[in-house]
């Protein structure tokens, strides 16, 4: 029972490079989320999706893009990496969205931009 799977676990990028953080869930959840966790700063919502083909911005969307072509996958794209994007990125999913539906998180991707 895989749950939410994030790849890669670690990545080092040079400034200006681009990459895609992968997220897949096998629980048939409609809702998926991307958060970033900076030291001492808690979890900040980047983007979320309430179903295939639908995405919306969270608290800190600048510098990121997402797509949701299938229920299972919700990749996060960084186009021009900047040092401020050094963080741990968590993907999560749920059945109903925020209310009365806890999030299931992946184990994160640790990204360093130098």
């Amino acid at each position: 029972n895989a749950g939410v799977t994030q790849t890669p676990k670690f990545r080092i990028l040079k400034i200006g490079q681009s990459m895609t953080l992968q997220c897949a869930q096998d629980m048939n959840h409609n809702y998926m989320y991307w958060y970033r966790q900076d030291p001492g700063m808690g979890l900040k919502l980047i983007y979320y999706s309430v179903g295939a083909g639908i995405t919306d911005k969270g608290e800190v969307p600048n510098g990121y893009n997402v797509s949701r072509s299938t229920t299972e996958d919700f990749p996060l794209r960084l186009e021009l990496a900047a040092p401020s994007q050094t963080s741990v990125y968590f993907c999560a999913s749920s059945t109903q969205g925020g209310n009365n539906s806890p999030l299931h998180f992946g184990n994160g991707t640790r990204l360093t931009v130098t």
Binding site: V4, Y35, M41, L45, G97, N100, P102
Partner: protein, 112 residues
């Protein structure tokens, strides 16, 4: 502007005693509150939740209390065990919105 605040970055409690973690919020529209627990190198896992129509929810050793007038909630862990050492995040959401907003977290150390 922080809508969910956890003002204590860390807390140390003796094993067997009660741990109390606090959380304040500013958005009066929040109507659902959750606590998550996070171990190093893992994603957060759901612990317990409470709806705004209740003032208390209990699940085993974990109890969450909600004081809507004070915009304050707390998580009580009794008795505290070594495996409870982790970072605890408070989170909140609004029924008509799909976003879930997290606090900065409190690191709990259970002392032997």
């Amino acid at each position: 502007d922080q809508q969910v605040k956890q003002n204590s970055p860390s807390l140390s409690v003796q094993e067997g005693r009660i741990s109390i973690l606090n959380c304040d919020y500013t958005n009066s529209m929040f109507d659902y509150f959750l606590w998550y627990k996070k171990y190093p190198a893992e994603g957060p896992t759901f612990l317990i939740s409470i709806s705004s129509i209740k003032d208390k929810n209990e699940d085993g050793r974990f109890t969450v209390f909600l004081n809507k007038s004070a915009k304050h909630l707390s998580l009580h862990i009794v008795p505290s065990q070594p495996g409870d050492s982790a970072v605890y995040f408070c989170a909140a959401s609004v029924l008509t919105d799909d976003k879930i907003i997290f606090g900065k977290g409190t690191r709990l150390h259970i002392l032997p």
